[in-house]
Amino acid sequence: MEVRVANVRKEFDRFPALHDISLDIRSGELIALLGPSGSGKTTLLRLIAGLEAPTEGAIYFGEEDASYKSVQERNVGFVFQHYALFRHMTILENISFGLKVRPSATRPPKGEIRRRALELLDLVQLSGLEKRYPNQLSGGQRQRVALARALAIEPRVLLLDEPFGALDAQVRRELRKWLREIHDNTNHTTVFVTHDQEEALELADRLVVMSQGMIEQVGSPDDVYDKPNSPFVFGFIGESSYLPVEVENKELWVGGRAIGLPAPDETTGAALLYFRPHDVELVEDGAALAGVVAASRRVGGTRRVELEIGGGKERVEIDLPFDHPAGEKSRIAFRPKRWRLFPVKG
């Protein structure tokens, strides 16, 4: 099922949460809404579900305008961060709830409901736990039950609100892989909200990066990581360092010195240079960025070094091999291998 969000605006008590959002979600894709808290990603998800009504704009399911349909009519599967299981029901009753509450005309017979619920329980790898109650399961198991419950109603769209947010890192990684498998097997159009960029990059077909109620960038994980189109996206996705520079004579300058980065297509003036800390090369001679080591710490297989550039006014971080002999106060010259320039406005 394709979902189209068309010029949606949402205000809460006159406080704008979403400004004029438009987004096309393709049928069968796994798409992530990514952004810091307060960016409006959960609000967008709840609008698609019908748990909130848009102040302006429309939401289409396929060709049909679903904006004014109730939650019940939209037939969406929704998974909450804190599971929201019915704790007085067994796991099996939880999963079959959506089928049991259907009007008798569309309700499958009892045996069929049970068969389908058991099948889903098998899909989420919890066979044998159907008689347990939610409080007897671990967090990861509960979230799997919640997913099975949402899948039971054969939803047109599956919506997940920070589904792994309440779980510990280990379980989170496992469930991530497992969700990807389930998605590949069932091919539901799936939208999930997360503030964890690693999760989004690993799991999603496409990312929607949001900030302050607006969409910053939409694209594949590679696109968003390699070609961020704004300083915000560059800073939010992956590690980044930035430095104020000047563009002059088709070259970049810092503190009146050329740093050996040609910029033939950039407009002259002040700009911000963004690069990834791991995407740098050390240079022995020639024009480069030079800095004094202010701090250095070992991070896994690399050494993260903080450099003071231009007499301590600016600081950037770069990654060095962990056995690099850089000590405090020593000088290091480097050039970013890949970088982007964002002009400083006004």
């Binding site: 909450f80 929201a84 019915f86 007085h88 509450v101 109650y133 409080n135």
Partner: protein
């Protein structure tokens, strides 16, 4: 008790095995705990409990046991006593059931909606706790008597509220209401909004959400409220004696009959009624507690 303690030993034994592998666990009165002061607080608890509850109850038992079974039975099956017990327990039961429905409704409105005067209503709920029950009884009688504002409304239809069992039920609803509201209210406040949203996304309409998702979740709290309201109603005296009319076999409650027996210096008769009431009440509360324990174990509620 024996079975209980052996199981304890076994469990403790197991745990010990894990920790030290060798040492055999022996049964101990108290589980090891890092919280100090067990002896002092336990001793105080026993003394306090004995002075306030246990000794008076035992005295009651001894007094009535002095009669022997036949004497006890004769006093207990006296028609007036049976009538009073029937009136007491049936009106208390009806009042508690009415409170289950409307108390829950009241709690629902107070928790779910914001309206002007909500805080005032919320505060007034507690008044039956604080008001001398005799005052309540007199006020209710004045209102529901055939010449009172509400009683007059019913009088033309030949319905009498005051001076009948119906009046007793009204008074008992009054004294029991806060118990119901105050037990359901906090639990209802705890219910996550997400639970209802989850039910809605699964296609449940409002009615199904309330009856299948919300109310079952409130059952333990409603049971507690019911037990409290019922227990209070069985023992209620002050408010009832004014509105009941106190006609033997019709609207005479057991606590009143106890007072009457005492005034006749028939201490044995009073004790027997009290002992019977105690047994019935204890049995009922015990059953309610069992149901609660069962439902809590099932759903893992910490109530």
């Amino acid at each position: 008790m024996a079975a209980f303690s052996t199981r304890f030993t076994f469990r403790r034994g197991n745990r010990r095995m894990v920790l030290t592998t060798r040492k055999r666990a022996r049964w101990r009165f108290r589980q090891p705990s890092v919280i100090p002061g067990f002896g002092l607080t336990f001793g105080f608890m026993i003394a306090y409990f004995s002075l306030i509850i246990l000794i008076p109850l035992i005295a009651l038992g001894i007094r009535s046991a002095g009669l022997g079974f036949d004497g006890f039975w004769r006093y207990a099956t006296d028609p007036r006593v049976l009538g009073a017990l029937r009136v007491s327990f049936s009106t208390a039961l009806i009042a508690a059931l009415v409170n289950v429905v409307f108390g829950t409704l009241l709690a629902w409105v107070l928790v779910r909606y914001r309206f002007p005067g909500r805080r005032i209503v919320d505060a007034i709920i507690d008044l039956p706790f604080a008001l001398p029950t005799a005052v309540a009884g007199i006020a209710l009688t004045a209102i529901y008597a055939p010449n009172g504002p509400i009683g007059a409304f019913f009088a033309p239809f030949g319905i009498r509220l005051a001076y009948t069992p119906a009046g007793i039920v009204i008074a008992l609803i009054f004294v029991g209401l806060p118990f119901m509201v105050r037990t359901v209210q906090p639990v209802l406040e705890e219910v996550q909004h997400e639970i209802e949203e989850a039910a809605a996304t699964l296609g449940a309409n409002r009615w199904q959400t309330v009856t299948r998702v919300l109310l079952p979740g409130l059952t333990p709290a409603i049971l507690t409220g019911f037990a409290l309201a019922f227990a209070r109603a069985v023992g209620e005296y002050g408010s009832v004696v004014f509105i009941a009319g106190n006609i033997p076999l019709v609207s005479e409650i057991a606590p009143l009959l106890i007072v009457i027996r005492l005034e006749e210096f028939n201490y044995v008769g009073a004790t027997v009624i009290a002992a019977v009431m105690l047994m019935i009440s204890f049995a009922l509360l015990f059953i309610i507690n069992l149901i609660q324990a069962w439902s809590r174990r099932r759903f893992g509620y910490a109530l």
